[in-house]
């Protein structure tokens, strides 16, 4: 009976995962179709205006200021959209999605990602794919924000029915127990490192999570999930 309930609860949380991905997609599409188009168009027009104002330096200066403000707003949206648009989970295999994320991370941050993917990685179930994508995204963002390393290393392996993701760096490291404890009960705000979110995703799919780090020793996060 409990086994049945567990299975049911797991199925429900998988559905919830897919629903939240759809919600994110909707928000991102709205941003893309609305403000981004408007601001880009406004900037084009303003740049025409700016050229026409060559004879009137003070006014040209004001228009230049407006351009800078709009460019900054666009930059903020860029970071947001870049981070949240779900990739084509249904169209692309796991390896391609991971490569896409690595390329995106390098483009947005200029921090290198060394990727180690087996050629015969194959694909996996949708909830696992979503979980690996979001966990990797969070881990790369952490490594960029906190490690101070110029490069991160990502390894994905398949063994039998499970997939293992390892994200590591040789950066400054931290005390994992302290950080994990500080993220207990952070509620909807989420912790600074988002490690709780990673753990929750892993638990939802019945996987395993390991974090190794120490000050001055770099960091290595390993997550194992059922492929199907």
């Amino acid at each position: 009976m409990t086994e049945y309930r567990d299975a049911e609860a797991r199925a429900a949380s998988r559905r919830l995962l897919a629903t939240s991905e759809r919600e994110l997609q909707r928000i991102v599409l709205d941003m893309h179709d609305g403000p981004v188009q408007d601001i880009f168009a406004a900037l084009s027009q303003l740049q025409v205006l700016e050229r026409a104002l060559a004879a009137d330096p003070p006014t040209q200066q004001r228009s230049r200021q407006a351009v800078r403000l709009l460019e900054r707003a666009l930059g903020e949206i860029r970071n947001f959209i870049g981070a949240f648009r779900p990739p084509g989970f249904e169209r692309r295999a796991l390896g391609e999605i991971i490569e896409g994320l690595a390329v995106q991370h390098e483009t947005l941050t200029e921090q290198g990602v060394e990727l180690d993917l087996p050629d015969d990685l194959g694909d996996c179930a949708l909830p696992t794919k979503i979980a690996i994508y979001r966990i990797l995204q969070e881990a790369l963002a952490n490594g960029h924000r906190h490690s101070g390393a110029s490069e991160q290393r990502v390894i994905v392996e398949r063994e039998g029915g499970s997939l293992t993701l390892t994200v590591s760096d040789r950066g400054r490291g931290f005390n994992p127990e302290r950080v994990l404890a500080s993220e207990e009960g952070v509620g909807v705000e989420g912790g600074h490192f988002g490690l709780r979110g990673i753990q929750d995703r892993v638990e939802m799919l019945g996987g395993a999570f390991a974090l190794e780090s120490a000050p001055g020793r770099g960091t290595s996060l390993t997550v194992t999930l059922p492929a199907e």
Binding site: M31, H32, V36, Q37, D38, F40, A41, A42, L43, S44, Q45, Q47, V48, R51, V67, E71, L74, G75, I77, R78, I81, G82, R85, P87, G88, R92, E96, I97, E99, G100, L101, A102, V103, Q104, E106, T107, L108, L115
Partner: protein, 208 residues
């Protein structure tokens, strides 16, 4: 004069870009449309050098438009303009054979620069995207990779990029990247110079 055709669902974007491009001395807007299904017809009619194409069209898939343009006897350069700075957009644009990618989340000035670059034959993609084009292991900088040598030989033999792509079983974009790298490593500006350099090496008894 660079003749540009603009295709974007968003009329305000078209209007803004048209105004901006019209003010450039070396660029002229040959046509524009908010309807993706019109693009191929307009290209046939106006014969632009560069098509600026939004990949997220509503009436037809942007990648289908791109494929149709690539199939033309003299395909125009295609610059994809998108709001998404993610791996997915990059991958779709590359797979569909675009010459470059510009972002609506960056200044329209960047779009102008990218139009000139693709017109000049450059591939305009972020550095990070190279892993998709060159494979996972890169050769030592400054030295030609075996693949680049192969491409060099074929360039010297007068083959076009599509012909080289077919011969080596690679995509057009991959060949373009190899050619670009080859040129920069050889320090040459075009195919003729690359061919001359090849012939020169061969004459000296040191075939590359």
């Amino acid at each position: 004069m660079i003749r540009v055709l603009l295709a974007d669902d968003h009329a305000i974007v078209l209007e803004g870009l048209r105004a901006l491009l019209d003010g450039e001395p070396d660029i002229t807007v040959a046509g524009w449309t908010t309807d993706g299904t019109e693009v191929v017809k307009l290209v046939q009619q106006h014969k632009p050098d560069v098509v600026v194409l939004d990949l997220e069209l509503t009436t037809i898939k942007g990648t289908e438009v791109l494929a149709a343009l690539r199939d033309r006897p003299t395909p125009p350069k295609v610059l994809v303009l998108t709001a998404y700075n993610d791996g997915e957009s990059l991958r779709s644009a590359l797979d569909a054979g675009a010459d470059g990618l510009a972002l609506k989340t960056e200044s329209p000035q960047q779009t102008l620069t990218a139009i000139r670059q693709v017109h000049a034959g450059q591939l305009v993609f972020p550095q990070a995207a190279r892993r998709w084009i060159e494979g996972r292991s890169a050769g030592a900088p400054g030295d030609l990779t075996p693949r680049e040598r192969e491409v060099w030989k074929l360039v010297a033999g007068g083959l076009t990029n599509p012909q080289i792509a077919e011969r080596l079983g690679l995509s057009d974009n991959t060949v373009k990247f190899h050619v670009q790298h080859l040129f920069s490593k050889l320090g040459v500006k075009n195919r003729t110079e690359a061919a001359l350099k090849y012939a020169h090496g061969a004459r000296r008894g040191a075939p590359p």
